[in-house]
């Protein structure tokens, strides 16, 4: 049994079936004739068996409990952060956060404007001037809309217009009362239209501001879980 080309490494790899098919076959053949390698193989085989026989260390009784109690604070943290994320993403959440911001910004804007006008003219004239500017702006807005000549908005406008000036032929106690209401409403048509549009515009601006502000002020920069 001189030094043969097979090593301890080969024999352990052979026992773990880690040799290539060719090598495995070659070593298998070699083992039939070489006592030295045969002995090695037996020794390593025995060692593998002994290693598997070594008893496992029993798990301490309270290990699971201890692990779970270590995890608990982390779990609570995670839960809180999930809730926070949900809150952050909820529609109402950010609307409620955005509206106060919008209100304060618009207040500041209006007050600045009033002060500006009060300084430029007289304080008595200011309310009238404000009102005038609003109507001016409003008319300007409408003329731009008309100028744009959007068929869609035309369609909306005429539809709602005819809706407000309903046919008078319909009779009956309830309907007549309704018609009466409508006639009254028609008298204030401009005002109603103005109010509705103002509210709609305000809501849209509120939504945009709320969205932007909630991104800027309330984004925690945390990854969603």
């Amino acid at each position: 049994m001189k030094e043969c080309k097979w090593t301890h490494h080969d024999v352990t790899a052979y026992l773990d079936h880690q040799l290539s098919d060719l090598k495995e076959e070659l070593l298998k053949q070699h083992l039939k004739t070489c006592n030295h390698c045969q002995q090695l193989r037996e020794e390593y085989d025995e060692l593998n068996h002994l290693l598997v026989q070594l008893p496992r260390e029993p798990v301490p009784e309270d290990l699971t409990k201890n692990i779970m109690s270590t995890i608990q604070p982390l779990a609570n943290l995670q839960k809180a952060s999930i809730e926070e994320t949900n809150q952050e993403l909820s529609w109402w959440g950010f609307l409620l956060r955005g509206i106060p911001l919008l209100v304060s910004f618009s207040m500041i804007g209006v007050i600045t404007w009033i002060i500006y006008l009060g300084q430029k003219y007289t304080w008595q004239e200011t309310p009238l001037l404000v009102w005038q500017s609003i109507t001016q702006m409003w008319n300007g807005f409408w003329s731009i809309l008309h100028l744009a000549g959007n068929k869609f908005s035309q369609f909306f406008y005429t539809t709602w217009d005819t809706a407000f000036t309903l046919p008078e032929r319909s009779t009956g106690p309830l309907l007549s009362k309704f018609n009466l209401l409508l006639t009254k409403a028609t008298a204030y048509q401009k005002v109603i239209e103005l109010t509705i549009l103002a509210v709609v515009a305000w809501i849209i601006i509120a939504l945009i501001t709320a969205f932007i502000s909630s991104r800027i002020c309330f984004d925690h920069g945390e990854e969603r879980i």
Binding site: H9, D16, H17, S20, E43, L47, L51, T64, L74
Partner: protein, 217 residues
């Protein structure tokens, strides 16, 4: 020196030991745990703690430290769980985390580390005396001596060899999986295993008459 042109083809038949390595945790259980379901996480703990604790115990040779390391490994697991994408098998993925924790712990306390785990030796002795009533006393004695010598030799092994041997022969991972767990090439796994076992064999053979060449029961 082993030849450098080793190839380690993936083989089907190479499972060492039953349980841990072949056990796999279902993706749905993992998903539930990620969603914050603590019962699912506890199930994962129950299924894997024995393997992790034993790995920690083998690396650290100390019960208390092993318990601490196991807890730390599960904390790490809990934190890393959302990033588990199923690109590896869950068990080998988790063992990688756990092995890192244990090795870190080992390095941290390296100075005051003792080589043997006396409690385990006692436990081993107890187990061996209660076993094998059908063999003759001579055989029992020899088996006992062999295992004790082996245990002592394992304790004295360098930690990386010990870890590889534990993963391979006690937890039953394949070479490929051990390579993933320890983040070394497959060839290195083979080399560590062979070197570790060569040392064990040498110690077993030198310490007692006739080495370990005893006929199998």
């Amino acid at each position: 020196m082993p030849p450098s042109n080793y190839t380690y083809p993936a083989k089907k038949k190479e499972r060492g030991r039953k349980d841990i390595a072949t056990l796999d945790i279902s993706q749905s259980l993992i998903d539930q745990a990620i969603q914050g379901n603590s019962e699912s996480f506890e199930t994962i703990v129950r299924l894997t703690q024995s393997g992790i604790y034993n790995l920690a115990f083998r690396i650290l040779n100390n019960r208390e430290e092993a318990q601490d390391a196991t807890q730390e490994a599960f904390v790490k697991l809990y934190q890393a769980l959302p990033s588990f994408r199923g690109e590896a098998r869950f068990t080998s993925w988790f063992y990688r985390i756990a092995t890192n924790v244990c090795l870190d712990c080992y390095r941290r306390n390296k100075k005051k580390r003792e080589n043997t785990a006396p409690e385990y030796m006692e436990h081993l002795l107890l187990l061996l005396t209660s076993n094998g009533q059908n063999s003759n006393p001579e055989q029992i004695y020899q088996d006992k001596q062999k295992l004790l010598r082996l245990q002592k030799a394992i304790d004295e092994l360098p930690v990386k060899y010990r870890t590889v041997i534990v993963l391979r022969h006690m937890e039953g991972f394949s070479y490929q999986e051990i390579a993933e767990i320890m983040q070394v090439p497959v060839q290195t796994v083979g080399t560590f295993l062979y070197r570790g076992k060569a040392v064990l064999l040498k110690k077993l053979n030198s310490s007692k008459e006739g080495g370990i060449r005893v006929e199998r029961v």
